[in-house]
């Protein structure tokens, strides 16, 4: 059996989601953003919400998310995406509203907007890409940078005495009464990607069922910022990031709300 026959007679078992358009993404080779973009696109398609989705992009590497996923987008100021999403969802309650934010955007400059939107039980989903570094501005320290980790603004490694501790926003979110579903996922293996997709789907569904706010953190790599190959970055993430940022559901109150 030739390759051509398989392609001709076989079934397509994987294809780029159609909602993810053909515009080449500006992300570095191997960047986790691309995988999460695919998952978000797949979930919107599978929920048949293309015509009812309003997404909010951040400032950071994902600022141009609106160029790649073919839904309506608002491009927020740095950290303010949850405020835009709060108003949008309240004004259009039957729309699927989510933000897509990085660690600098969500856990640093936009901490107030994030915490308060989550705690107001806004029926939105926040997708939080945590790669422990500022990617777009060239690899500076993030609020989530691990102790000892070297970045452009902590070139000798993050030290408590100089920089304080890395922030676990997702753990904080899990304590808030307004949140329904809070989870931490990764996208470095097929199994992890499948779990992350289920998590995004669950969060989106809860938001449409009016059960409150949802936070899906994706522990991610930034191989350019970390100065590693994509493969090594995945390994480094498994060995270092997961120890501090434990994967799994932190809260699922979907049945109680």
């Amino acid at each position: 059996m030739t390759r051509e026959e398989i392609i001709e007679k076989g079934q397509v078992v994987y294809h780029k989601p159609t909602l993810l358009n053909d515009t080449p993404m500006h992300y570095c080779p191997g960047c986790s953003h691309g995988v999460v973009h695919k998952l978000v696109s797949e979930v919107i398609e599978e929920m048949e919400m293309t015509e009812k989705t309003i997404a909010i992009s951040p400032v950071g590497c994902a600022v141009f998310a609106y160029k790649y996923i073919d839904v309506d987008w608002q491009e927020a100021a740095h950290g303010r995406a949850p405020a835009l999403a709060s108003a949008t969802k309240r004004l259009w309650p039957d729309r699927l509203v989510f933000t897509y934010q990085g660690d600098g955007d969500l856990a640093c400059i936009g901490t107030a907007e994030t915490i308060h939107a989550l705690n107001r039980a806004e029926n939105i989903t926040i997708i939080f890409i945590n790669n422990a570094i500022y990617g777009m501005t060239g690899g500076q320290m993030a609020p989530t940078t691990l102790l000892g980790m070297k970045t452009a603004t902590c070139p000798y490694g993050r030290e408590v005495s100089l920089h304080g501790y890395p922030l676990k926003v997702t753990e904080i979110a899990a304590t808030l009464d307004g949140t329904c579903y809070v989870t931490r996922q990764a996208v470095h293996t097929v199994a992890a990607i499948n779990r992350a997709k289920k998590a995004i789907r669950k969060a989106f569904e809860y938001s449409m069922q009016g059960k409150g706010s949802n936070l899906v953190e994706i522990v991610s790599t930034c191989n350019s910022g970390w100065k590693m190959s994509p493969e090594k970055a995945n390994k480094w993430m498994e060995e270092n990031m997961f120890e501090f940022y434990h994967l799994g559901d932190l809260k699922d109150a979907g049945a109680d709300k």
Binding site: T50, E51, K52, T53, I54, I56, V63, Y66, D70, V71, D72, W73, Q74, E75, A76, A77, R80, A83, L84, A85, S86, A87, T88, R90, L91, W92, R95, A112, E113, H116
Partner: protein
Amino acid sequence: MADQEITLMKGNEAIAHAAIRCGCDGYFGYPITPQSEVLETLAAEKPWETTGMVVLQAESEVSSINMVYGGASTGKKVMTSSSSPGISLMQEGISYMAGAELPALIVDVMRGGPGLGTIQPSQSDYFQACKGGGHGDYHLIVLAPASVQEMADFVDLAFTLAFRYRNPAMILADGAIGQMMEKVVLPPFKPRRTEEEIIKECPWATTGRVGGRKPNIITSLELRSEEMEVINLRIQAKYREIEEKEVRFEEFMLDDADYAIVAFGSAARIAKKSIEIARSQGIKVGLLRPITLWPFPTKEVQKLAERVKGILSLEINAGQMVEDIRLAVEGKVPVRHFGRLGGIIPDPDEVVDALKRSF
């Protein structure tokens, strides 16, 4: 007619009632003196149970203005209100909205600064309202009410202009207009637009790709310099059109005037009394009251400079609008400023003294 009923209320309350009545879809705000009655009145009126208007107390002015940014991005009629320090915090979001060309209403009930300043009335936000208070080349459409009636009337006018030009509009009131009680005839009720109407009227809005249309993107970002220049030029052309078509002003006893006072808001009310006193002393003086501070009535000030001997800019600040008057006058006649600071409203007699000293 119940709609025509004359009631007595504060300027801030009039803003809230007018918002509900003009079909506003959402208010997002944060308490700050001297404008907190806007949010308080809305909370007490519960419009979400009647017109369906959303009212939300945000965690900060930064969040309020970004909620307005999000709401305006969907074509809804949304607004916020604050006072000077809060408006300073909002400037980032206002710049983004001007860049993304979004219609919205921002109410600034001014108090004295700089810094935490005072909670007493002031007009010292003229610069941050009229000159594009945040980063980038932009303008807001700025309306300056001088009565509680105008507080009520300008809400609908501001929304109309904001949507006509896809540009944020501001009602720039001072603490005195916000806090004073006056009789007011509230505007008649106008229903909120339906979602279908919004989608039709605002084909640019992020409402979801209804009917499978191509995605709508609301952004102020463009990294290609050539494209960014084109966007800026288009926005500037819009500003020139607004300057051409939307200047509003009031003239008072200018026909035979030898001198003119230019004043807005509370200062214009003081000016009228000062003019009465001055005329009783044989000084022929009149008033030009800009109603739109941006676009500024430049041509009217120019015409004034052709026929009066001097112009006094009366402001409750250290002299901000006077710069625009001088730009318009181009040195043809003397232009002086008089104002009080620290939240003090000038006394009509001291304005007359200032007139005499100035010319």
